[in-house]
Symmetry: C2
Subunit: 341 residues, 2 copies
DNA sequence: TGGCACAATGTAAACGGATACTTTTGTGCA
DNA sequence: TGCACAAAAGTATCCGTTTACATTGTGCCA
């Protein structure tokens, strides 16, 4: 059906190996032959059969992307597309393809990854999560399959990963509130088993203590990456005897819930309560007021993660942990200057 | 490196072909042999090499998903993840893999798809857009490669596609507003070259005329799927001498912009202006007020589209155009009963 | 002018698995 | 006991490429 190297060879009056060498830019092929063969390849619309190529080269030029299990996916939901764009841009540039996989539970996921690795389906993997102590990670290390985590792992410091400096990001966000004159600052947190949550928490407390501001237990509430979570966390924090006048919020979606809850309770943002959050998804500028958020460079995360796996495949030395710069995007929700108090 | 069929055969004391037949569940293999071979496969952690298998079977068990070009991607942004989950669920169930591809411009995209098709990389394709008169579609038809569009194509009625009944969806949404007592209803539209836009427009006008309500030029504004677009469209509509008291909005993201604009201008939602929109992305319930939106069954769209390609590959007869049911999710933004007028 | 180096190309054997065709083994029956 | 015939398994070839090794051809030098 499809055009093969043999048909090209026949039409060009050369042997299949010559055609193969033309494709590979082998030095010992004469200009003349090369040109003629290329013409015929174009004429016949020849494209090398990747399966055959892979079989002999033992490489697939394919990177697998493993989605998190549905239970952990919520964070990803809103920047998945941009992330994939970044991944795809890098892979396309390097002539690699992207295979997407995932399972609905731990076992299914492990089976899928095992199959991809053992059947020689991919040359490397990108794990879109940073779950601690994971059987998938064990497997990949054992099989010596190059892989990169999105977000650092709590358990393995030496596993290659791309991440933001979340400590610094939260530090910056909190500092920004302090610079606006805020003294009572709370923190709406995420699941504490995630490195991201721990890091942002650390940045928050660091900024507080440096500024000599109080850290109060009741001002910090752990939530999840769910729509209602922010709402509940906010209610808990604001019901304290002396509630904070500013909140650092672990994620934009949670911030949406907080914002809504605060508004419903009659708080004015930012006059009564100022907020900053993280990830800078598109809709943060469409809320009322627009939300100040830390842009984490989603596209760049995807782009760099792919670059890392590719480097690992090419046996190039890499830094085990690559940091993507963040940027605080200041919007109305955190600006004290608007306040008349 | 990896375990091959030969190693399994050797260890089991049979020939490679026997092992191959065990894998394929060939009828003429004795229970006993089959069991022994399977045990050894497990023991060695054998997984068939997909490349070798593909080479001889001339099939890849892989479906390609082609992303829209960045310029047209905005709509997709917020439900991409759910869509992919649907696709992946169906493919995994059927033992297929998902290859993701896309280009930054028309030529790049065509080259990518050509390569996937000609090099035998995929057995079928899913196009996540429904651009009219597309060179990619021409190519796929010519190469007899099974493919399914997401959303119907304006130019080719007979191209397989999954879609909502957008006429009916917009009709339902508009009717809902009418049932709430609305008489002056405007429409914030999208790019008219899209079938989706045309269909929703048609449903809107149909509902109006059935109810004997006026259709006014100035009440209908074409926008784009951009954040600011809704804002501008709203401004234009509301500056009419006699502005509408309700708006049907082509998409949730646009509706966010409209909502923000209306609120800033001092309109109360839904008392002064009621709104309904489409797609029901997660954040519609977190706006103030929450937005009534038509759920289009994103997961189901992905799931069904994949099912269609798989059927085409198996030469099963399919309906060229598959309709996914929609569902109006009523929230505060459209409820007139709240009004005191 | 024979011999040699080297460039250009050809030949053939893999890569791992599927399968048409062939051989071996086993069973029932005359 | 021998034979037919079916079940079970083995042999060999092919899928489309790459590549080690072999062959051919040319020019140059002793």
């Amino acid at each position: 059906m499809a055009v093969t190297i043999k048909e090209v060879a026949k039409k060009a009056g050369v042997s299949p190996s010559t055609v193969s060498r033309v494709i590979a830019n082998h030095p010992r092929i004469s200009e003349e032959t090369s040109k003629r063969v290329r013409e015929i390849m174009d004429e016949l619309g020849y494209h090398p059969n990747i399966m055959a190529k892979s079989l002999v080269s033992r490489t697939t030029r394919t990177i697998g992307v493993v989605l998190p299990r549905p239970a952990e996916e919520l964070l990803l939901n809103f920047f998945f597309y941009e992330l994939i764009r970044g991944v795809l841009a890098q892979l396309t540039r390097s002539g690699y393809d992207l295979l997407m996989a995932g399972g609905t539970n731990e076992q299914e996921e492990l089976e899928t990854v095992t199959r991809l690795v053992r059947s020689g389906r991919v040359d490397g993997l990108l794990l879109l999560y940073s779950r601690a102590s994971d059987p998938v990670i064990h497997l990949l290390r054992q099989e010596k399959m190059p892989f990169v985590l999105l977000g650092r792992s709590l358990d393995y410091e030496d596993v290659p990963s791309v991440d933001n400096d979340n400590v610094q990001a939260a530090y910056d966000a909190t500092k920004h509130l302090i610079a606006q004159g805020q003294r009572r600052i709370g923190f709406v947190s995420g699941p504490t088993k995630l490195a991201m949550t721990q890091d942002r928490m650390a940045g928050y407390t660091k900024a507080l203590s440096e500024a000599g501001l109080p850290f109060k237990e009741g001002w910090v509430v752990e939530g999840e990456f769910l729509l209602e979570s922010g709402y509940r966390a906010m209610a808990s924090i604001m019901s304290q005897p002396e509630p904070p006048t500013a909140l650092v919020i672990i994620d934009d979606v949670v911030a949406f819930g907080v914002l809504k809850g605060l508004t419903e309770l009659g708080y004015r943002i930012p006059q009564d309560v100022a907020i900053v959050s993280f990830n800078n998804i598109a809709l943060t500028e469409l809320t009322m007021p627009p939300i100040t958020s830390v842009d984490v460079g989603t596209y760049q995360l995807g782009y760099t993660a792919s670059q890392m796996v590719l480097r690992m495949i090419q046996q190039v030395e890499i830094t085990a942990r690559q940091i993507i710069p963040h940027r605080l995007v200041v919007r109305e929700s955190s600006l004290r200057t608007l306040s008349l108090t």
